[in-house]
């Protein structure tokens, strides 16, 4: 079932063929617009058409950018969910952050999973208003005018709709009762049952780079079409291939006049030379080809001055706050972070720091900032998926069974508790200096002291507190 696609009114062009959607701003030349539509239509049936179309543009841009000020975007299936390609002054909201080429203009490509909604619109444009419940507009196929688009969770039940290869937007009925998508983005909420938590709203336009410009991204020796992340390239004469695309169809430089540099081949069907060949590790689960991976769509790490900001969304506890604002356990004599004295300070409420670590028998060390679930599929649990608990995925030891969620280490106030989840084999604990293992009763919980060991599924962990007991 294809995603619902709502076109935002205004100048520009929106096209959709299958799961592949493109947008071009009015600054884009007719040749570029035609190329976008043609290539989208040509590649739409391919399983990774998003990657393919992005790669074809990257191969052109690496030879020079014919239209650096032309905003356009490509969204379509890739190796890792959807692939998003942005060029020029354009921005996209992927239900978590704003993405935009940096510097602007430039270009970027990123895997974005499967966000609902996904918004594409001109750089600096305000976010679109809330979609009314039951909004029937849904571009299923074709090319229409538009200043951007919003891609939403598919409506259910499916409604057969006629398709148009080129023509006005298809106003397919979008059965609103199935549209439950919501997000905490820039003010746009679709559907009548918006209920998702609101993440940090980034504002209407990106102010910091999501993918920082890296000269090596375009100049490095391995910077092939897929490995490139962002770029800003000197304009060249020539242009994007005119409608029809690649050399096999007589395409070539667009309307830009005599080229000094060829804009490069854009393959006609079937997609070919500049697309990544099947890696030598393909099909071997023990090998991961690293030569042509797409960059992750994460932003730069924050700088040292922002260290205290990371604690903003942690649970509140009562403790001692030093002169520098570092939160400490109420029984601490000096600040664990900066060493300043805490004597004489009144207890205040503040974000809880990590209570210590769990040291696993494989040498991995896990911070106890919140409740941990230990199991063979801990990451699939509702608590982990919702973010209320962190998953420690562990395979069973020899001759043992590890349940998907075998036990949990709860973090409450300033205390750490081991809780059995009733799995076969049970959960054991050994107090520091204790005589041996004690098996917890089903669903029993026990507070852990620093140095305690716990065991489940044949694996052993040691709890080390960061604070006085």
């Amino acid at each position: 079932m294809p995603d619902k696609l709502e076109v935002l009114p205004g100048p520009g062009l929106v096209a959709r063929f299958g799961d592949l959607a493109v947008w071009a701003g009015p600054q884009a030349s007719p040749a570029l617009q035609a190329h976008l539509v043609t290539e989208a239509q040509r590649l739409a049936g391919s399983p990774q058409c998003g990657d393919q179309l992005a790669n074809s543009f990257i191969s052109i841009l690496q030879r020079g950018d014919p239209e650096p000020q032309a905003p356009f975007a490509v969204v379509g299936p890739g190796a890792n969910g959807l692939t998003l390609f942005l060029h020029g002054p354009v921005q996209a909201w992927d239900s978590g952050r704003w993405l935009a080429p940096q510097p602007v203009p430039g270009w970027m490509v990123a895997p974005i999973g499967r966000p609902w909604p996904l918004i594409v619109l001109p750089y600096g444009a305000p976010p679109p208003p809330q979609s009314p419940p039951g909004n029937p507009f849904d571009l299923r196929s074709g090319t229409v005018p538009g200043a951007g688009f919003v891609m939403l969770r598919p409506a259910a039940p499916p409604t057969p709709a006629p398709s148009a290869s080129v023509g006005p937007a298809v106003a397919g009925a979008d059965h609103a009762q199935g549209t439950t998508t919501a997000y905490g983005g820039p003010g746009y909420v679709a559907g009548p049952t918006a209920q998702a938590p609101v993440p940090q709203a980034p504002g209407p336009a990106p102010t910091s780079p999501v993918l920082a410009p890296s000269p090596q991204a375009t100049a490095g020796p391995q910077a092939g079409p897929v490995g490139a992340a962002t770029g800003q390239l000197a304009p060249v004469q020539g242009g994007f291939p005119s409608q029809g695309g690649g050399p096999g169809q007589g395409g070539g430089p667009g309307q830009g006049g005599g080229p000094t540099t060829s804009p490069g081949p854009v393959p006609s069907a079937p997609p070919g030379p500049e697309l990544p060949a099947a890696p030598p590790s393909a099909g071997n689960p023990n090998l991961v080809d690293l030569r042509s991976v797409l960059p992750a769509g994460t932003g730069p790490l924050s700088q040292a001055g922002a260290v205290t900001g990371a604690a903003a969304d942690r649970p509140q506890v009562v403790g001692l706050r030093c002169e520098e604002g570092h939160m400490n356990h109420p029984r601490s004599a000096t600040c664990a972070l900066c060493g300043r004295s805490l004597s004489g300070l009144a207890q205040v409420s503040g974000p809880r720091p990590s209570l210590g670590v769990l040291l696993a028998d494989d040498g991995s060390v896990w911070s106890l900032e919140r409740t941990c679930l230990i199991g063979s599929e801990a990451g699939s649990s509702p608590e982990a998926r919702s973010g209320t608990a962190q998953a420690i995925t562990m395979l069973a030891g020899n001759n043992h069974m590890m349940a998907p969620v075998h036990c949990e280490v709860q973090v409450r106030d300033w205390g750490v508790y081991l809780v059995d989840r009733g799995a076969e084999g049970g959960t054991s604990v050994q107090a520091p200096g204790g005589p041996g293992w004690a098996l917890l009763a089903r669903h029993e919980q026990r507070e852990l002291a620093t140095g305690s060991h716990l065991s489940c599924g044949g694996r052993v962990f040691t709890y080390l507190a960061a604070w006085p007991g």
């Binding site: 030598p280 690293l290 991976v293 994460t298 040291l359």
Partner: protein, 267 residues
Amino acid sequence: MANQLADYEVIGAVADDGVLPCSSARRPARLGGGGTVTVWVLGPLARAPLTSVRRRLEHVAAVRSPHLPDWLEAGAGEWAGRPVVFTSATTVVTGTLAGAQGMTMAAKLRALAAAARGAHALHEAGVLHGGICPQAICLTGPSDGQAVLAPPPLADGHQPLLQVGYPPLGFVDPHLLRGEAGRWSDIWALGATLQAATSGSPPFPDKDDVPVVQALAQLLAVPQPVPPEAPPLVAELARQCLATDPSSRPRTASEVADRLDQAAELG
């Protein structure tokens, strides 16, 4: 030393001190053959299948920089009789800062500056290295300080915070153990590595000789180390990188690199 890792034929050890085994190997025919590549053993394949670390390695490999290896692939194989995760690159590594003999101070500083630039490239792409130590500064030239930053540990400084062994605990930012990982953690490790490279001994030499839990406890209340006898610029930089309060450290690894290059110029 094992002579085979997956289908890589190992030619010789570049570094084999137990922290981050690194070897030169023949490029498998599967990958075109006919050349020398470098392979690193990142750690045991005990906790979960390769798929669980795939995302981490792909994030790292997507960052292109002349100060990072030119990646080939990652994989699972057997090394010295145990299943491990390894990664390979076409970059030819000749040694590490840990085992460097006869390097001038200026060359050491330049190598560390190159590694700092590699770390900065990762930071700008949202990736924490989390394993900076002398064994992770991979020399790529004869003796003039050309270097790349080794592949990072399997743990990424978030969850799990680290994988004991690589890096050695003496190079782990105490704040990382508190769940406050950030680029300041790598900057702390750059400071510790700088101090180790210039003084010949790490700032916390006893951390690897005590039980892990004790070491962690000590690191949670780490004292301010005293910089060794070193050029004033270097000593001051090490002191700042190792500041207990992250906001007192240099703000970026790129800044560290610039100051290292400046110190190298001054000899």
